[in-house]
Amino acid sequence: MALCARLTGERGLGEELAQEALARAFAGLGAWRGDGAFRSWLTRVAVNCCRDWQKAGARAERPSELDPVAAGGLDPEQEASGRELGAALAAAVGRLPPVSREAFVLFHVEGLPYEEIRALTGVSVSALKVRVHRARQRLLEELGPLVSGE
């Protein structure tokens, strides 16, 4: 559920897609060959659910539900804390373009190695590295004062 929420940037939608992923996984258990990690297979089903949703163009342009900045704003003192860095980062990740967000979430949030992400998404490792790099740069632009250490 957390993965779907991160990939979509919306908690409620993430729950819906996670439920759909579980239902798809159950109905498609016969497609699991049993020769790989079940978690990886289930992750692939969840990623595909989120991708299908993206392809359907169902996402209206609106602030992320994981977005405390848009929801009410962070004051400077809050921004100074590491906890608020996490909240601001979660919100900023939700605003990334979908392909960059997917690569960033799978690599930096889920901690999957590039080779495993390639197997999950079908995107080459070199392309994934470019997407993750662009995501980091975009996040740096958004979160600059929070992470500059000055």
Binding site: D35, L85, L89, F107, R136
Partner: protein, 199 residues
């Protein structure tokens, strides 16, 4: 950005090599690399959003609404099924079968348990397809479709063995439905209840 900094951020460089790399960067590039490392570190520590209290119940409801999983013959044939324990059990079963075959030599074959035919009905006038899955057909709804009759009542007759207890569910247009006329029900392990038929 330098390739070596990208490699650092991608986790391909660590430890002393990473520190040495940061130290030899010009100040501006070093600050940027350290800021990006903070982002990567914060991402790895992000707390997962907590699911709603009813998340599991809603997920299971959606799972139940799907047809049960099926394995293709090709997948079944290709998948490994023999485990050491399974092989041992198979060998033991083989010995029992051999002993049974020897013991039964010269004896008349045992009579088969008599079967009764039970008729299952479901009133579903708007349904396009109805099937039933249960203990009697290996929970394979495709094996036992119901036929639509007058008044939107779907029926099927299934041979059952007296003295046994069967659980079953209807599959109506792809959604699992309990038999509303069942005399008894039992937990199905998915948050719902199977109909129970005792003969």
């Amino acid at each position: 950005m330098r390739d070596e900094v990208r490699r650092l951020l991608d986790g391909e460089v660590g430890g002393d090599e990473a520190r040495a790399l940061l130290e030899r960067l010009p100040p501006a590039e070093r600050r940027e690399a350290e800021a990006l490392l903070r982002i990567a570190g914060a991402a790895a520590r992000l707390e997962p959003p907590a699911p709603s209290p009813d998340f599991a119940a809603r997920a299971m409801a959606r799972v139940r609404a799907r047809p049960p999983p099926r394995r293709s013959l090709w997948t079944w044939l290709r998948s490994p099924r023999v485990t050491p324990l399974g092989a041992l059990a198979g060998a033991f079963a083989g010995v029992l079968l051999a002993l049974g075959a020897v013991a039964s030599l010269g004896r008349a074959p045992a009579p088969r348990a008599p079967a009764v035919v039970a008729q299952l009905d479901l009133h579903a006038p708007l349904a396009r397809s109805v099937a039933v899955a249960g203990d009697f057909n290996g929970w394979r709804p495709e094996a036992t479709p119901l036929l639509r009759g007058e008044g939107g009542v779907w029926t099927v007759r299934v041979p059952l063995v007296p003295g046994r207890r069967y659980q079953y569910m209807f599959l109506v247009d792809g959604a699992w439905v309990s038999d509303p006329s069942a005399a008894a029900t039992a937990e199905d392990g998915f948050g719902g209840r199977n109909a129970v038929l005792e003969l």
